[in-house]
């Protein structure tokens, strides 16, 4: 089954990271991504720019509304994701727990709805 692992974390707390902290985090994510690849479960994944760069769009009554900022203001923000293909929820949870983001925020695990 395919799962999206969403990495939620507090952007405000992350921003003042020192260069050493940043490079350490970068290396941790690099190793994690490598482990996913080696296990043959990685379908894709990206880091997202902070929510200050977000724009929200919706069409209401035929009119396009463009709003500055993320869809919802929350304490933790979506900062990136991995898409994986594993046997079941327990395997997905195990991979989510290994993600460096799980130690600093929350990982949300969602099954992909397969299209035909």
């Amino acid at each position: 089954m395919q799962y999206l692992l969403m990495i939620y974390g507090n952007e405000a707390a992350m921003t003042p990271a020192t260069p050493e902290q940043s490079s350490q985090m970068h290396a941790a994510y690099g190793a994690y991504t490598e482990a996913l690849k080696k296990a043959g479960v990685l379908l894709g994944g990206e880091r997202l720019k902070p929510t200050s760069t977000a724009t929200s769009v919706r069409v209401a009554k035929g009119k396009t509304e463009v709003l500055n900022g993320p869809y919802a203001e929350t304490k933790e923000q979506l900062g990136g994701y991995y898409m994986i293909d594993v046997a079941d929820l327990d395997a997905a949870i195990a991979w989510a727990a290994r993600c460096p983001g799980a130690s600093f925020g929350t990982m949300e695990v969602r099954p992909i709805w397969p299209m035909q």
């Binding site: 079941d88 929820l89 949870i93 099954p111 397969p114």
Partner: protein
Amino acid sequence: MRDPANEDGHREPRAVAEAVARRSYGKLLAFLAARTRDVAGAEDALSEAFSAALTDWPANGVPRSPEAWLLTVARHRMVDAVRRRRVGEDAAPHLQLLVELADTEDRADGEAAIPDDRLPLMFACAHPAIEAGIRAPLILQTTLGFDAATIASAFLVSPATMAQRLVRAKNKIRQAGIPFRVPERADLAERLEAVLDAIYAAFAEGWSDPAGTETRRRNLAAEGIWLGRLVASLLPEEPEALGLLALMLYAEARRGARRNAAGDYVPLAEQDPAAWHATLIDEAEALLFRASGIGRTGRYQLEAALQSAHVVRRQWVGTTGRADWAAIVQLYDALLAMTASPVVAINRAIAVAETLGASAGIAALDSVAGDARLAEYQPYWAARAGLLARTGNVDAADAAYAQAIGLESDPAVRAFLQRRRKMLGS
């Protein structure tokens, strides 16, 4: 396939279908659900297979292996249902699973060959991704085939709410890809608790039929003990699994003693220890001893220890022996701290009355009287009535007995309460 000489062949097809339903429902459902992860679909298919049996068996005779017959029909119904409604979902892997199912089934020519997946099914139902409060009801429904209304009454929830939550939980198992397997050691303790709770709930439901008139419910107590033995044998180092089995065996040992020869209800304090089942009690004591040696206490070990403190009366002759009430109060204190359950608080109040007197017991009952759940809980009113009677507060005792009588569904217990009520002031 049809064999008129077979034992089932001489019996009414309806009776055979009911016997198979009682004996094998959980096993058949676990087998179908574990291979498709579709609990609701497996339930529907199995229920259609049972209906089909009621039409087919009277006409064509009872098949040699009723279980295998039901499994074949249920599997075909599942494939049909998948073709009909699985648009937009992963039909391909699902159909693949059903092909595997067919392979297994071809080898499974007979009841013994159908693997028992009830333990993996129970752990799927007890998965942390499933809402905590619905885990035990879900296990009861899937392993024993209870309908939502029966489960709702056991868990003090409205039937509509219970039905809705069960449907949601089954959807979650299928859509989130929750596995059907016994978890690794690291996750075991946490998940085991929900499994044990469900087994005990099943046992309690069966044990609450003391007259033994309802075969289906009596079977539940046996199923509960069977599941308890299964879990305890697979996980011999888990003290709570041993504690639960001990608790159920203590209770089972007193099953017959709850009624006298005339069929009247006999409360625990007045039961003749000679009427208890000594072998079961010995087994329970040994299990509890082993569990306490492992050194991790828990709810089921405490409850089993309470039973143990009651059965010390065995050491006296006749009904003169006293239970170890001081130990019982201490155990209830520990249990109350762990569970904060109003039901535990009621039992603790009864024990307090034995050590400190009826007024102290009433004071202890008053401390939980504000709990709205107790307004319709018979044992609360019966306990209250008994203690009020002992303090000579006849009017209040009479009113409490009336309330308890009105809430009781067991005729023997109702008659017992009515006799106690009549004795007031005499």
